[in-house]
Amino acid sequence: MDGIQRLGRWAIGTSERLGRGYLFLMAILAGVPSTLMRFSLVIQQLYSVGVLSVFLILISGLFVGMVLGLQGYYTLVDFGAEESLGVMVALSLVRELGPVVSALLFAGRAGSALTAEIGLMKSTEQLSGMEMMAVDPIRRIITPRFLAGFISLPLLAAIFSAVGIIGGYIVGYGLLGVDDGAFWTQMQTKTDLYADIMNGVIKSVVFGFVVTWIALFEGHDAIPTSEGVGRATTRTVVHSAFAILSLDFVLTALMFGEV
C-alpha cells in the first residue's frame, strides 16, 4: 500500500511540476517581444551564459577531437582505411558529440549557474521586490536569460565541432601521419551541409531551448532556502542530462533514420 501511495504522490507531484513548467514557458515566450525591444539585457546575459563558457568548450572540444583522432586511427588502420579518419572525426562531431557534449557541458557550467542565480534572487526576495516595483521579473530577468541560452548553445556547439575537427587533424596528420589531402577531401565528400551539419545545428538549438528552460524553471520553482536552491541546482544538471540524451535519441531517429 505504502509503495502505491508513494507512486501516486510522485505521479501527482510530477504532473503538477510539468504543468507549472509549461505555464512558466508560456510566460517566458510571452515576454519575448518586449525583451527583443531591450536587447541590451540579452547582451549582458550572452556574456555570462555564452562567453564564460567558451573556454571550457574550446578545451573540451580540442581534447574530444584529439581522442577521436587517436581512437579512430587505431580502428581504421586495421582495415587500411585510415584516410577515412577525417570523415569519421567530422561526422561523429558534427552529428553527435558536438551538440550533445557541448549541451552537457553547458548544463553543468551555465545551467547550474542560472538556477543558482534565480534561486538566490527568489530566496532573497529580489524577484518579489521587483514585482512590487512594478517590474515584471519574467520579462526583466527570466526571458533575457532564456534568449541568451537559446542563442549561445548552437554557437558553442559549432565552436566545439570546429575545434574538435582541428584536434582530430592535429593528431591524424601531425602525429600519426595520415595523408593531409585525403583527410580533408574525404571529409568534404562524405559530410553533407544539410543532412549532417544543419541537423547538428537543429539538435543544439533544441538542446539550448530545453536546457535553459529547465535551468530557469528549477531556479524559479526552487524552495527559497539555501538547501532548496542547492537541490534545484543538482536537479538542473540531472534533468538536463536526461533530457539531452533522450531527446538526442529521438532527434537522431527522426533525422538520420530514413535515407
Binding site: 534572487m121 526576495e125 529580489q126 518579489s128 521586490g129 514585482e131 512590487m132 516595483m133 512594478a134 517590474v135
Partner: protein, 267 residues
C-alpha cells in the same frame, strides 16, 4: 474614504486558515500599524495588498480599485504607486547602491541620466547614505540595506508605502534611525504608510492607528492610547509581553500529566 479597504478577507495556505474574515481600513496620510504574534500572516497581508497573492474570499480595494480584479497591466500600473520595504531589503545584489535606487526610475521613466542622478542623490541624502552610493549591497549592514531599500521604495514618489517588519534584528541606533525616517518620510511626502511589526515600543511611537491580529481575525483596533488602556486580556498580554495568558505558553494538546500517565500505561 479610506485609501485601502479590506473586506471579509479569507486566505488559506493549504488547509491552514491564515485569515478568517479580516476587515481593515487604512486612511490616507496616516501610519497604520498591523501587529500580532509571529505566524499571524502579517507579511501575507502585505503580499495580498500588493496583489502578489490571491485571496480565497473577500476583497481588497485600493483607491477604489479591487486589486484582484485588475488585469496584469493595470496591476503593474497600480504598483508603480505603491512602495514596499522588504524585511531583507530585497536589494538587487549584482548592482551598486546607486543603481538600485535608480532601478525603478530607469525602468519606468525616460528621464535623462543627469536627472536620474540628481533624483537618486536626493533620495539617498534623505536616508543619509549619499556617500555610500558606490557600495555593493553585500557591503552594507542590515540597517543600511533597509535604508537604501527605503530610498528605492520612494524613488517614484508613491502614494503609499508598506513596511514589512522594519525593526526586526536592528541595533538600537539603527532602530532609532529607521523610526525617525519612517515618521519623517510619511510627513514630508504625505504618504500613507502601513507598518507590519511586532516591535511594540517603536511601532507605538509612529503609528496613528493600530490593528491587532491574531488567529486570522482582527482582535482590536485603535490609537496607541486606547490600546494601552484596553481591558481585553489578550491585548494586555500582547502589550505587556506576558508569557502566559489567553495565548498559551504551551502548544495546545493533551496535558502534561496525561501525557506522562499515558506513556506509563503503554509500558
Amino acid at each position: 474614504m479610506p485609501l485601502i479597504e479590506i473586506r471579509d478577507l479569507h486566505f488559506y495556505r493549504g488547509d491552514r486558515a491564515i485569515f478568517k474574515g479580516v476587515d481593515l481600513d487604512i486612511y490616507r496620510g496616516k501610519v497604520t500599524a498591523i501587529m500580532g504574534p509571529s505566524g499571524t500572516g502579517k507579511t501575507t497581508l502585505l503580499k495580498l495588498i500588493g496583489g502578489q497573492l490571491l485571496p480565497d474570499q473577500g476583497s481588497i480595494k485600493i483607491d477604489g480599485q479591487d486589486v484582484h480584479q485588475l488585469k496584469h497591466a493595470q496591476l503593474y500600473e497600480l504598483r508603480k504607486r505603491m512602495g514596499m520595504l522588504f524585511q531583507s531589503g530585497a536589494l538587487l545584489t549584482d548592482i551598486s547602491v546607486f543603481d538600485n535606487v535608480a532601478f525603478p526610475l530607469r525602468e519606468h521613466t525616460d528621464l535623462p541620466e543627469s536627472m536620474i542622478r540628481d533624483l537618486v542623490l536626493m533620495k539617498l541624502q534623505a536616508v543619509g547614505l549619499r556617500n555610500a552610493k558606490d557600495l555593493m549591497p553585500a557591503e552594507l549592514s542590515g540597517g543600511m540595506a533597509r535604508r537604501v531599500a527605503l530610498a528605492r521604495a520612494v524613488s517614484l514618489d508613491p502614494m503609499m508605502i508598506m513596511y514589512d517588519e522594519p525593526f526586526t534584528g536592528q541595533d538600537p541606533i539603527s532602530m532609532g534611525t529607521l523610526v525617525n525616517l519612517i515618521k519623517r518620510i510619511n510627513q514630508s511626502m504625505g504618504l500613507t504608510s502601513i507598518v507590519v511589526s511586532h516591535d511594540l515600543e517603536e511601532t507605538m511611537a509612529i503609528a496613528d492607528d493600530i490593528y491587532l491580529l491574531s488567529d486570522g481575525r482582527v482582535i482590536e483596533r485603535g490609537t496607541p492610547e486606547t490600546l494601552q488602556n484596553s481591558s481585553s486580556e489578550w491585548v494586555k498580554q500582547f502589550m505587556e509581553g506576558l508569557p502566559d495568558g489567553p495565548v498559551s505558553f504551551h502548544y495546545p494538546g493533551v496535558g502534561f500529566e496525561d501525557d506522562l500517565l499515558r506513556s506509563k500505561a503503554a509500558k
